[in-house]
């Protein structure tokens, strides 16, 4: 039995402790934010914020997350009350298919929370492990910059 603290709620799950955290979040807890993209930690679709840092949950065993605070995309805000970074993506219409947005938003948020004065180049560097195959890059950067400015 493993206890997980996800978006402020506590869950106890009965899974193989080697199971990647992603599977527990998306299949046992039925969360829609974290997604399977590659299972190799190469694309960012599975990103969650664990102890304040963006991590790739597809290569993080669930035992490594036991007891720690986990935030998924759902934990930031709702369609009615989106978090400012989510609102920035809505304002900029920064989506095509939208599959990558979980990784983009959480990676950018975790980075800007730690580095509020980050330069454009540093933000770019922080997003080097995240893919968007629809190439909505232009709008995503606009949304991230907007959030960074509002935050500062």
């Amino acid at each position: 039995m493993i206890t997980l603290k996800v978006n402020g709620r506590t869950h106890t799950v009965d899974v193989d402790p080697a199971t990647p955290l992603l599977y527990v979040l998306s299949d046992d807890l039925e969360l829609r934010g974290p997604k399977f993209g590659c299972g190799l930690g190469q694309c960012g679709a599975c990103t969650v914020i664990l102890k304040g840092a963006a991590v790739k949950s597809c290569v993080t065993p669930v035992r490594a997350a036991a007891g720690a605070e986990i935030t998924t995309l759902e934990g930031l805000g709702t369609p009615e009350k989106p978090h400012p970074i989510q609102q920035a993506f809505i304002d900029e219409q920064a989506a095509q298919c939208g599959f990558c947005l979980n990784g983009v938003i959480l990676t950018a948020k975790a980075f800007l929370d730690k580095h509020p004065k980050a330069t454009e180049e540093e933000i770019q560097q922080a997003l080097s492990g995240v893919l968007c195959r629809c190439f909505t890059h232009v709008r995503m950067y606009q949304a991230i910059q907007k959030y960074a400015k509002e935050r500062a």
């Binding site: 899974v15 193989d16 199971t19 990647p20 599977y23 998306s26 299949d27 039925e30 969360l31 829609r32 934010g33 997604k35 399977f36 993209g37 590659c38 299972g39 190799l40 190469q42 694309c43 960012g44 679709a45 995309l73 759902e74 930031l76 805000g77 709702t78 369609p79 989106p82 989510q86 993506f89 809505i90 219409q93 920064a94 989506a95 095509q96 298919c97 939208g98 599959f99 990558c100 947005l101 979980n102 983009v104 770019q124 560097q125 922080a126 997003l127 080097s128 492990g129 995240v130 893919l131 968007c132 195959r133 629809c134 190439f135 909505t136 890059h137 232009v138 709008r139 995503m140 950067y141």
Partner: protein, 775 residues
């Protein structure tokens, strides 16, 4: 093989001509549909009739409108645009319209959502647009009777009809027809609102799905959960062409959660209670496979392609005087261009959920064609098509034929084997090795110039390997899972020489925009060059192939637009001016001039003067196209910086001008133009399927290269050329079609080195630089 195993219903599904004979009225008024929509002769049996208003629209007692469409949301914004369309033509608020799309229980069969056909199909003279206009006129007619006033004294707005100038007397749509059927045929004469009257269309209406996506509420197909659902994984042949010799089920016996090992001919999969268990069982399952078919050597692939026999030859245009004109030319320029196989590489690996219970199946699929998925899944399962329901759910990206259809068969087969709902998501390797790749191309260009440098003849000869394509009626074997269970891909029928073309068809953009392409003496092309020949040789491919965003159009346009640049350089002419000299299409000229103007184009021949061999070099390039001949127009200018020491290209600026007719949603159009340009940049600079002597070796994001989110973005600017008096064209595949050539041309301008092979890797750039005479 296929036909023997088909049910009588599946055979009936193939017999579309017979169906149309008995439903003659059905096609009246729908003859303007584009080829992709009518390519199999008409809608599938059981589909809602296209000419009936009730197939497209329903109005509830509370006035809410439900619209039905066969064109789905893949992330391109088309559902927002279609909702705007219905709101506009029906005169109801955008928020009152709900669009149901691509569910074979409800929606019309509009073939695939592909090929930039959604606007032409639903926004011009028929289908959804005409249905909404027909409904509005019918409602006004009903109101006229109810209010005792002639129709010309009535006004419809916001779902309410009232006498002009007297809003106190009114009747709502809900009161007039709420909950009842219209029982009307679409009226081709129903008045359509011209763009000058638009209040909803033409506006940057935000996409309603984005708030759900950014907060993790949106249901992708990956999130579909059905009670009692199990999880499957497939075990694909490890090398191309391998067949199952034996499966040792004891190798996974007793694994936690394992439900079943499924083997059907060469299809192997496992079903478990949880996805992680399924993955582990699939990895551990011992399958003995035969040796593979072997693959052609990659380093000599294009040479083999040129010599491969037999071929299926297609002649797109032939003025029959090309050789004669070339023999008279002051100079003849030749070049060969190469394009590799490329993957769709959707970011989330493909996923589907199927619930096969006895002789019935419900399938949630990211397919581009729910009706073809329905009839072909029925063949795969041995069920009657009418007992199969396919419901579209958005997958990750699309860009054409990724593994969406094949994973749908995977889920269906595994569900049938266990009699319970099964969800299958492919691994990254499965996705990148079992999709249908965008076609490799070898293209020879030849042109004759007169003494002034003007083009007098253009010859294009291309070779491209193909195997399979999107599943259509009767062809589940067009994707890997179909073949694994015994169906065949569409047959390859050799044919050489090619027959003369029957008419102008530039869907593949095989004919350069500069050709006049005369048919019966009438110029059909966008250009002025009267002498031209375009000959394509298709040959069998070792890999499955299928449409990848701007299929063949991307490849052909890369060659044509780079070659045009070579001709301009040969003539020592400015690349924009030289293009304009050979164009007569106002719309191509329009986008070319708009892009050049917005980019503040530096008018002069390429390459730029004073080239140096080392260090950073900058340049600008241009390209343009009439997409599919007449389905969207784009001009593009890029500015690049080339590091001549490392061979790295940095694209600094992209200016896209796009003309797609009357603009439905300017922000949606801009989003597509931006995304297309950057996706095309990734394809031009990095993307290439690789293989060894038996298997594909580009299997993840370390071996199949793409530009990540974190790269130095160019400045991207869009010029939207609105043409309210023209018909709506496609838009989503325009900018991607021209970007590779514009980058290649900019590199030439900067360095004098001509890139003729995609991707433009640093090694290829350096090799091209070595070959230049730059001092």
């Amino acid at each position: 093989m296929i036909r023997e195993s088909m049910t009588s219903d599946a055979l009936a599904a193939l017999s579309r001509r017979g169906f149309l004979k008995t439903s003659g009225a059905l096609i009246v008024g729908f003859t303007m549909v584009r080829p992709s929509e009518g390519q199999f002769g008409g809608p599938s049996p059981g589909a809602p009739p296209m000419n009936q208003l009730d197939s497209w629209l329903a109005i509830a007692a509370d006035g809410n409108v439900t619209a039905y469409s066969g064109k789905e949301e893949l992330g391109q914004g088309i559902v927002t645009a279609q909702t705007q369309l219905v709101a506009e033509e029906l005169s109801v608020p955008f928020e009152r319209v709900k669009l149901i799309y691509c569910d074979t229980a409800f929606t019309p069969d509009q073939a695939y959502t592909s090929g930039s056909q959604s606007h032409p199909a639903n926004f011009n003279h028929s289908n959804l647009a005409q249905a909404a206009a027909t409904a509005r006129e019918a409602l006004v007619q009903m109101a006229s009777q109810q209010l005792g006033l002639p129709v010309d004294q009535l006004r419809a707005a916001d779902g309410v009809i009232s006498p002009k100038g007297d809003p106190s007397k009114k009747v709502t749509y809900g009161q007039l027809v709420g909950g009842k059927k219209f029982n009307l045929t679409l009226d081709p004469k129903a008045r359509r609102k011209p763009p000058s009257e638009w209040t909803v269309l033409g506006k940057p209406v935000p996409r309603p799905d984005i708030p759900e996506i950014v907060t993790g509420q949106f249901e992708f197909v990956h999130n579909v959960r059905v009670p009692g659902m199990l999880h499957g994984r497939v075990v694909r042949p490890p090398v191309i062409g391998a067949t199952v010799m034996s499966v040792d089920e004891s190798s996974v016996a007793g694994m936690p959660g394992l439900v079943k090992v499924v083997v059907k001919k060469n299809f192997v999969g496992v079903v478990a209670e949880r996805p992680w268990q399924a993955l582990q069982a699939a990895e551990k399952l011992k399958v003995t496979w035969s040796a593979g078919a072997g693959l052609p050597k990659r380093d000599s692939f294009f040479e083999q392609l040129r010599n491969q026999k037999p071929t299926r030859d297609i002649l797109l245009v032939d003025s029959k005087d090309v050789e004669q004109k070339l023999s008279l030319a002051a100079s003849v320029v030749k070049a060969t261009y190469l394009h590799p196989y490329q993957a769709h590489g959707s970011m989330g690996s493909s996923c589907a959920v199927a619930d096969v219970q006895g002789d019935k199946a419900t399938i949630w699929s990211p397919t581009q064609g729910v009706w073809y998925q329905k009839s072909t899944a029925a063949m795969v399962l041995g069920l009657k098509p009418e007992n199969v329901r396919v419901i579209f759910r958005r997958g990750s990206g699309c860009y054409g034929l990724n593994a969406a259809d094949t994973v749908t068969y995977d889920a269906a087969l595994l569900s049938q084997a266990v009699g319970k709902p099964v969800r299958v998501q492919l691994t990254r390797k499965d996705e990148l090795t079992s999709e249908n790749y965008g076609n490799a191309f070898l293209m020879d260009e030849r042109a004759g110039l007169d003494a002034q440098g003007n083009i007098i003849a253009w010859d294009h000869e291309a070779w491209s390997p193909t195997l399979g394509t999107r599943p259509g009626p009767g062809t589940p074997g067009n994707v890997i899972t179909g073949t694994l269970v015994g169906f065949q891909p569409e047959p390859f029928t050799p044919r050489s020489p090619a027959p003369d073309p029957r008419g102008f068809n530039n869907n593949s953009n095989g004919i350069p925009s500069y050709a006049a392409a005369l048919f019966d003496g009438v110029p059909k092309g966008a250009g002025t060059v009267r002498s031209s020949r375009v000959l394509v040789h298709n040959v069998p491919s070792p890999f499955f192939t299928g449409p990848l965003r701007s299929p063949a159009r991307f490849q052909n346009t890369f060659a044509h637009e780079c070659f045009m640049d070579e001709l301009a350089a040969h003539a020592k002419a400015d690349p924009v001016e030289y293009r304009l000299r050979h164009l007569h299409s106002e719309r191509v000229i329009g986008v070319l001039e708009a892009a050049a103007k917005a980019a503040n184009w530096d008018t002069r021949p390429s390459p730029k003067a004073g080239l140096r061999k080392n260090g950073l070099a900058t340049g600008r390039g241009v390209a343009c196209v009439a997409y599919e001949g007449d389905n969207g127009y784009t001009g593009i200018v890029t500015e690049v910086e080339v590091d001549q020491d490392t061979g790295k290209i940095a694209v600094k600026r992209v200016v896209v001008a796009i003309d797609a007719g009357p603009i439905s949603n300017p922000d949606g159009l801009k989003n597509q133009a931006e995304g297309g340009a950057l996706q095309g940049m990734s394809r031009a600079l990095l993307e290439e399927v690789t293989w060894d002597n038996e298997k594909v070796t580009s299997i993840d994001w370390r071996t199949y290269h793409t530009l990540p989110l974190g790269f130095a973005l160019p400045k991207v600017e869009c010029v939207l050329v609105n043409r309210p008096d023209e018909e709506a064209t496609g838009a989503g595949e325009t900018s991607i079609t021209v970007i590779a050539a514009a980058i290649g041309n900019a590199v030439f301008d900067a360095t004098g080195a001509r890139l003729r092979q995609i991707p433009f890797t640093p090694e290829r750039v350096k090799a091209a630089l070595k070959g230049t005479g730059a001092a």
